[in-house]
Amino acid sequence: MKKNKLLGLISVLTLTVGILGGCGESKEANAADTTAASNISGELTASGSSALLPLAQMAAEEFMDSNPDCVITVNGGGSGEGLKQVAAGTVDIGNSDVFAEQKLDAATAADLVDHEVCVITMAPVVNKSLGIDNLTTEQLKGIFTGEITNWSEVGGPDLDILLVTRPSSSGTRAVFKSWALEGEEEASNAALETDDSGTLLQAVEQNKGAIGYVALSYLVNNDDVKSVAIDGVEPTLENTYNGSYKVWGYEHMYTKGEGSEIAKAFIDYMMSDTFAESIEAKGYGASSKLTDEAVKSHETK
């Protein structure tokens, strides 16, 4: 009797330990694969910025096509999450809209290596039927800080302005704030806030008086909303490259230290000339095409 009881207990215990131990082992094996890979094979995980996600996923697919021994998984989760995970070593690459120093403490951020894989240009967008195609920086600031509340004040129809923005922790919002609004805080108490740019576009599309901002990547093949020029400069990739349009930011891929071989290879691929075409087709900008003037203008902040 007693023996049986003991036997049962032991079998359950071995089962549990087996399951738990199994998980641990496979994780270790994965880690070994990625760090000790030769001839570019193994597994790579990346997570973070949702703005960079579609591009990183496309790059991962193309990279896996030419390197069939690699398995790359890219997840979203937000810039903060991506930075936290790469610093903790749970993913190989952390994608971020902002510099690591802004989200992590200095000591942790110092361990990370920044790769500015592409640039992302933001454009103010309005409803197609509004009939506004240019705003000055002063007008934009007035609109987003809630001082200007009617379109007639900036040469449009007599219609209330409906602000559609992103959460205060959003990377898109941070870029728009520092480069389009010259650092002025948006009026959160008078704006609709949307979790993602897709929802923002829908709100702008549905309301005649609405204004918001999205990355150019959301405007590729999208005729439902209209982008607005700032001080007469159209939000295009060409104007981003030549430095005349200022509202853009770098997209970062962070590795812990130099990163594994596969991580290096993947980031090299993302920054290569072959992939630059895909980057532009998706509405992002290639870092390599930025003129010195454009690079310099963004060094100040």
Binding site: S11, G80, K103, P167, S170, D195, T199, Q206
Partner: protein, 304 residues
């Protein structure tokens, strides 16, 4: 001999597995609670904000950085948004829920079992994103066009209606069970005293099933408090107290969901979101406590 051995094995192994599984679940629940408490207290312990500020101030400007602090964490707008939308949802749904429950049990029991019951079960199975999506594409434009809402139809009203639809099945099913469990002898006695059907429902059945219906209401409320996605899609997420039912506001769950991934872990903004999550846990624990209280009181009354 052999046979008896295997019987013994069955009798020992099964309960052991069941016991381990049970204990694991309890440990999991407790550790989630403990984790929330530890994280949620950070706002008050690590950054020295007062609980009064958190609950009653509407000045929300937490610093999003791993080390710096000095922002404000007044979550009153979010708390008010949650309370308001849930309360309004309850007001909207109650007549429908109790009406449906009475219809399914007292008035047309056959149709209730064959048509209503399955229909309501389907209701429960619809994912919340679908409710939110329908709210966003149908309800929000409808409110904008019919009531000429200023902020494009994103409003307290839209959020409350979506929530009302979502908690309808919970309240209805629990109420149906409560009404069904009223003994038939009560009804027959009332009919014997020449009551009309309405009098039986109103004077006998509803009072007798009161505690069950209350349980349903609280269960529905706690679901409404925890719902994030569908509400976030239609509430507008404007950080201001709503001026009227047609203006947008924000609530606890939507604010947590939209900012959690982007904030610096352990920073002031991040921990303030954890405090909001802790508040949600406290609200739902209170709800569960209330349900037990009502249940205990009903049992006492039955015995007396």
């Amino acid at each position: 001999m052999r046979q008896s051995k295997s019987v013994v094995k069955d009798n020992k192994l099964g309960p052991l597995i069941v016991r381990i599984a049970g204990l694991l679940i309890i440990a999991l629940t407790l550790s989630i609670g403990l984790f929330l408490v530890i994280r949620g207290m950070g706002t008050f312990v690590k950054f020295h904000h007062s609980i009064t500020e958190f609950l009653f101030s509407s000045n929300w400007a937490p610093t999003d950085s791993a080390t710096a602090s000095g922002g404000n964490v007044g979550a009153a707008i979010y708390i008010a948004g949650s309370l308001l939308t849930c309360g309004l949802a309850l007001l909207i749904v109650l007549p429908f829920s109790i009406g449906a429950a009475i219809f399914m049990t007292e008035i047309s029991a056959k149709a209730g079992k064959k048509i209503f019951q399955p229909a309501i079960e389907i209701f429960v199975g619809i994912p919340s994103v679908v409710y939110g999506w329908i709210g966003l594409t149908v309800l929000v434009p409808f409110i904008r066009d019919v009531f000429h809402a200023k902020m494009g139809g994103y409003s307290v009203l839209a959020a409350s209606i979506v929530l009302a639809v979502m908690i309808f099945p919970t309240i209805t099913t629990v109420s149906v069970d409560a009404i069904r469990s009223v003994p038939d002898s009560y009804r027959r006695a009332a009919y014997g005293l020449a009551s009309t059907r309405w009098q039986v429902i109103y004077k006998i059945v509803l009072p007798a099933s009161k505690s069950g219906i209350m349980t349903g209401i609280i269960l529905g409320l706690s679901r409404a408090f925890g719902e994030a996605l569908a509400v976030a899609m239609v509430i507008g997420k404007t950080r201001a107290f709503p001026k009227d039912l047609l203006s947008p506001t924000n609530n606890l769950t939507a604010a947590i969901a939209s900012d959690m991934g982007n904030t610096a872990s352990g920073g002031e903004h991040n921990l303030a979101l954890w405090s909001m999550a802790l508040l949600l846990l406290i609200i739902s624990v209170t709800c569960i406590f209330l349900i037990h209280l009502i249940g205990a009181r009903a049992k006492k009354n039955e015995r007396a």
